[in-house]
């Protein structure tokens, strides 16, 4: 396939189409609306299902119903809409049906704004709906990766009968980059043996997240956790840049990761031996690789477009063995590379020991920055 200049949201939609998605249900919300709009003509063109739901609550429950038929289904939304979907996501997890969800994150909390953000990390990776479950979460940093991870998401959802979230942000959704689309897959004609499609010539089937006997519910929870163990074993993904000889490592995912890449290159040009570690699977998280990196580098710098949500996972992985520093922008602000470069320079040239609490020390530094910004207004 030739490279085409594709907008992230539309590329994700077409990737879903080519992965054989049979039904899409969604609700308009910036900055993911182009995805819904693309599906609104593309799905009917192929004789597949598109429906604009009355709310994100309805959309995720339509997805839930369609997933129960064994069809490949997806939805997409942005942060406030994804909050509304949490009920459905928990039910889907409890029913063990495969679903792909795209979250094009924006600034929050609350109505926030429509600028790119990574504020949904905790909600998607560590929480969200009620009960014990772990979705698979994949974080693209480019349009090409958004395409590839969307296709992968469908395969993983089917393989593990789980929710897979592609966690992008407004930047990935809105930007255009050259990218290659995958070949068109055939729509499936064989359906899994749990699919509810009418009890023709077989025993009836039931798909439900109710296990009224706690002892039976516990068995379900155990099964979900066993599957999660398999996922943790098999589905860790990340990308490393300039880390072979690195004394310092920057860790960032998605857009923050690619912004950091520019900073790392600039720092390398100054002779600072720094590399970038970019987690692609946020769930399961590459704890072991980060732990190993802690034996190599002197300091890690975590950079995010939030107040340090993934930071806590890096701290968990490194367990205090080396200093961790943090730099974040919040509320829909995207950092410029020079901000992260300045942090790398500060760390590489620091003569004083680092604060034990990276978030606290970052907040002190950040107060000065915000003060300067406010002064300018």
């Amino acid at each position: 396939m030739p490279r085409e200049l594709l907008k992230g949201n539309e590329a994700i939609a077409e990737a879903g189409v080519r992965a054989g998605v049979q039904a899409y249900f969604g609700y308009p919300i910036t900055p993911q609306t182009e995805l819904l709009e693309y599906m609104s003509w593309r799905m009917p063109q192929l004789g597949r299902t598109f429906l604009q739901a009355e709310s994100e609550v309805a959309a995720i429950n339509m997805v839930y119903g369609a997933a129960c038929t064994g069809a490949r289904v997806m939805s997409s939304s942005s942060s406030p809409g994804v909050s509304l979907m949490m009920e459905g996501i928990s039910y889907i997890a409890g029913t063990e049906v495969p679903v792909v969800l795209i979250d094009v994150m924006r600034g929050g909390p609350g109505l926030g704004n429509i600028a790119p953000s990574q504020g949904d990390y905790n909600q998607i990776v560590h929480g969200g709906g009620h009960g014990d479950y772990h979705p698979i979460v994949l974080a693209p940093a480019s349009v090409q990766e958004a395409i590839d991870l969307t296709v992968l998401a469908f395969d993983l959802a089917d393989k593990y009968r789980t929710v897979v979230v592609v966690l992008a942000d407004g930047n990935i959704g809105q930007m255009m980059e050259p990218a290659e689309l995958p070949p068109m897959q055939d729509i499936r004609t064989e359906y899994p043996d749990w699919a509810v499609r009418g009890a023709q010539g077989r025993e009836r089937r039931l798909l439900s997240s109710i296990y009224i006997d706690p002892n039976v519910e516990e068995v379900l929870n155990y099964r979900i956790m066993q599957r999660w163990n398999e996922i943790q074993k098999n589905e860790i993904r990340y990308k490393e840049y300039y880390l072979e000889d690195a004394e310092y490592a920057v860790i960032g995912f998605g857009t923050a990761g690619r912004v950091a890449l520019s900073a790392v290159r600039a720092a390398r040009a100054e002779g600072i031996r720094v590399g970038l570690f970019r987690p692609i699977s946020l769930s399961p998280y590459p704890y072991a690789r980060i732990e190993a990196l802690a034996n190599q580098v002197k300091v890690m710098l975590v950079t995010e477009m939030n107040a340090g949500q993934m930071l806590e996972d890096v701290q968990k992985a490194t367990n205090g063995r080396i200093p961790i520093e943090f730099y974040g922008r919040m509320g829909g602000v995207m950092p410029f590379p020079d901000e992260i470069l300045a942090e790398i320079q500060r760390i590489a040239h620091s003569l004083v020991p680092f604060d034990e609490n990276p978030r606290q020390s970052w907040m002190k530094r950040h107060a000065e920055l915000l003060g300067t910004l406010q002064g300018k207004q």
């Binding site: 200049l5 930047n171 690619r258 890449l261 590379p337």
Partner: protein, 186 residues
């Protein structure tokens, strides 16, 4: 190598499209490229800008604080971006809507009456192509032919008849910049 170009103006001046054409041309010439718009709740008449980054390796940040070049099609955009262009960079300003001279002396700039040139070609909507032609003279990251080819290859079918006049707009912008650009002083 990495070149960052900001294109800014009012909504409706074709700034997003100009950036896309540049991005297509870069892609077709096997460069790495990103195009990202500012996106906001306003649909018409508000400010619009996009950033195009061209390079020879995978682009990191799609946004930079200090771009190598800026095309500004109105005064608010000039006020915002003139000071941000890196020293040694390039600035194309639409003199039709800007009644002041450049303040920077450490960048190459051209103040071009892009609206008038576009109107002389019969369509004010060519302002963006006039400005893009001027930029590629100051910053020859791609030849004009590459932009023309990108227009040929990617312009929607219904706009194909406008190809010749678009080429002319690019050329007029380039000629003006050749003649009138203000080189870095000192």
């Amino acid at each position: 190598m990495q070149i960052e170009v900001v294109i800014a103006g009012f909504g409706g001046q074709g700034v997003l499209f100009a950036g896309q054409v540049l991005a297509y041309a870069a892609m077709d010439n096997n460069m790495e490229v990103t195009w990202i718009p500012s996106y906001g709740p306003e649909m018409r008449g508000g400010t619009a800008n996009c950033t195009v980054i061209l390079g020879d390796e995978a682009i990191g940040s799609p946004l930079v604080r200090n771009p190598k070049a800026a095309i500004v099609l109105n005064l608010p955009s000039l006020e915002k971006y003139e000071s941000l262009v890196v020293p040694g960079g390039a600035l194309v300003a639409n003199a039709s809507l800007i009644n002041r001279s450049p303040q920077r002396t450490d960048i190459n700039s051209v103040f071009i009456p892009a609206n008038e040139i576009a109107e002389s070609l019969g369509d004010r909507r060519l302002t963006n192509m006039v400005a893009l032609g001027a930029l590629l003279t100051l910053l020859p990251v791609l030849p004009l032919q590459a932009i023309e080819q990108a227009l040929r290859d990617h312009l929607p079918e219904r706009h194909r008849r406008l190809l010749p006049v678009n080429y002319e707009a690019l050329k007029q912008g380039a000629i003006f910049a050749e003649r009138e650009s203000i080189e870095i002083s000192g």
